[in-house]
Symmetry: C2
Subunit: 328 residues, 2 copies
């Protein structure tokens, strides 16, 4: 379906089809709760733990939808992307499961652990310099040579339809727990893939549930775009929530501008505090990016008081030797 | 039921009754898997995550069974125990849920965080000196003053019947995942409460499933007792798996000597390696004690090759500022 600006927008039916397509390849991750965190926050929270996906992040949903939706002819040529984060490893993982090539362009100086994870799943890495120019030139070469289908980390309708399956499961699971619904779902926002998928699903499945985005103060392009009513690019953001450095694009801006109720931001210190609090009381290993929702809930208690709030824990690929509360 | 030595031993029916009694007060914790850890170990593992209980440990099962099984008259006087670990906080938590007093004798130098947790759940702490003599004398005083019912951390049939509910759930959940059973269940052994409950349940529910205990080399009284065929006391054990320092007692020895198939031990380094591996790939926060099962599986691959193995993750109350791989 195309929107008023001619952008191809995924539909609710695309999300339902995605869920059927990817079910054999992803986990129905558990929803965890903590009475102690609920008391601290003054609301009832349900944490959907996508850190428990095999490759450690929700991005396996969108990646699997793209990979398993390819025609056989295209599948032979494989997929290609540029990413140094969870999208690269999740796309490699999905391609490995279908037995097709996955080409990944990564900055030369990306952490070795990230390269190792992509390689473990059979992803073929081509290194580039750490500039947009080099990345785009290198990626164009790789794509021309291989014919790999470009799967963007978030600005792709197949990817957003896949991410939308997460909140479908969460609504089902919360209903299984106590028969109730959710007043709001809070997810971190970087490029906006998860938030867009959440909007896509809830706009039809549960239109009374608010979708709220949580963003680091130090990478607040979505917040500033939302307040201005137009897409504003970020200026060299820097945050410990390093999964959220990338900017919104046209397709994710479509969902953010049309369906998101509010965007709240949190400081670096608030993010680290919320991260440690979650590790301690929910007892899960998750990335700093996943702590931004709890940070904004604790900071805006009045907005959430007494509500039932879904929180999406987006990923759990953490360097255990460099936790933010550890000293060198 | 009394055994040949006149010890009161809980029955399978006691375990079933315990499960009905405690269901409203505990969580049916999820079972997690990791294809990556399975590849490393050469077997298929199912991790039952008791670290996700609200007070962070399986001990809430036995404690809740004891607390909610009390007569109203006894309940008014409350419960009492001596412990500086998860039993103290779990018993306080269960007593708080029934609204009755819980008296806890703890060494004066127990970590402040442990005292805070007990206090958060309304437990009333009496401090003692760090000797058996002082602990026993102080506990006798507290019990005489309050009339609180003594709930031993593990040498109590009500507690063992409660712990047995964990492997009942695990067998049900593994069957829900893929319809299969388990060839073995591996759990850490300290005082032997969880292992005894596991034996109690599986001896009837799934007699072909082996029960295997995992113990730190540096606190190996169960291993030495098992090999000698008689109860041998430990001599000032010291291990990073600090939930496993306590020795077997008559009742847990009954189960260990009659139903356990094997006891394997692991070194401190093997335990820390397995702990970090689990945090990284299963993405859960758990205590060093919970890593002993994976450590012994990785160390004895031939014994587990190709098998379906349940692993009980016993608790997740960790000092995040003092992880074993962190430097001061």
């Amino acid at each position: 379906m195309k929107d008023a600006n001619g952008i191809e927008v995924p539909t609710y039916e695309d999300m339902l089809a995605a869920h059927e397509r990817i079910k054999p390849h992803i986990r129905r991750t558990p929803v965890l709760t903590s009475a102690h965190l609920n008391r601290l926050a003054g609301c009832e929270m349900f944490f959907k733990c996508e850190n428990f996906q095999e490759p450690g992040a929700f991005k396996v949903r969108g990646a699997s939808n793209a990979v398993f939706g390819l025609s056989d002819a295209q599948a032979k040529l494989g997929v290609a992307t540029h990413s140094s984060g969870n999208h690269a490893s999740c796309l490699s993982y999905a391609a490995m499961r279908r037995g097709i090539p996955c080409h990944v362009v990564m900055p030369r100086m990306a952490p070795q652990a990230k390269k190792d994870t992509v390689a473990r799943y059979g992803g073929r890495i081509t290194e580039c310099e750490p500039s947009t120019t080099s990345r785009e030139a290198t990626f164009a070469e790789v794509q021309a040579e291989t014919g790999g289908d470009f799967v963007h980390p978030y600005n792709d309708p197949r990817v957003i339809a896949g991410q939308g399956t997460c909140s479908k499961e969460m609504m089902e699971q919360v209903a299984e727990i106590d028969g109730g619904a959710l007043d709001a779902v809070v997810a971190p926002i970087g490029g906006g893939g998860m938030i867009s998928g959440t909007c896509l699903t809830l706009a039809t499945l549960s239109p009374d549930t608010q979708v709220i985005a949580a963003e680091p103060e130090q990478a607040d392009d979505a917040y500033r775009s939302f307040k201005a009513g137009r897409l504003i690019a970020d200026d060299a953001p820097k945050t410990i929530a390093d999964g959220l450095l990338v900017p919104l694009k046209e397709l994710t801006w479509h969902f953010v501008s049309n369906h998101v109720s509010e965007i709240y931001t949190a400081s670096e210190e608030e993010i680290v505090d919320a991260m440690k609090l979650t590790w301690k009381h929910l007892r899960i290993v998750m990335e700093a990016s996943c702590a931004v929702p709890l940070a904004v809930i604790l900071k805006n208690k009045d907005a959430f008081a007494g509500k039932r709030v879904g929180v999406i824990i987006t990923g759990g690929n953490v360097d255990l030797d460099k936790l933010p509360w550890m000293r060198g």
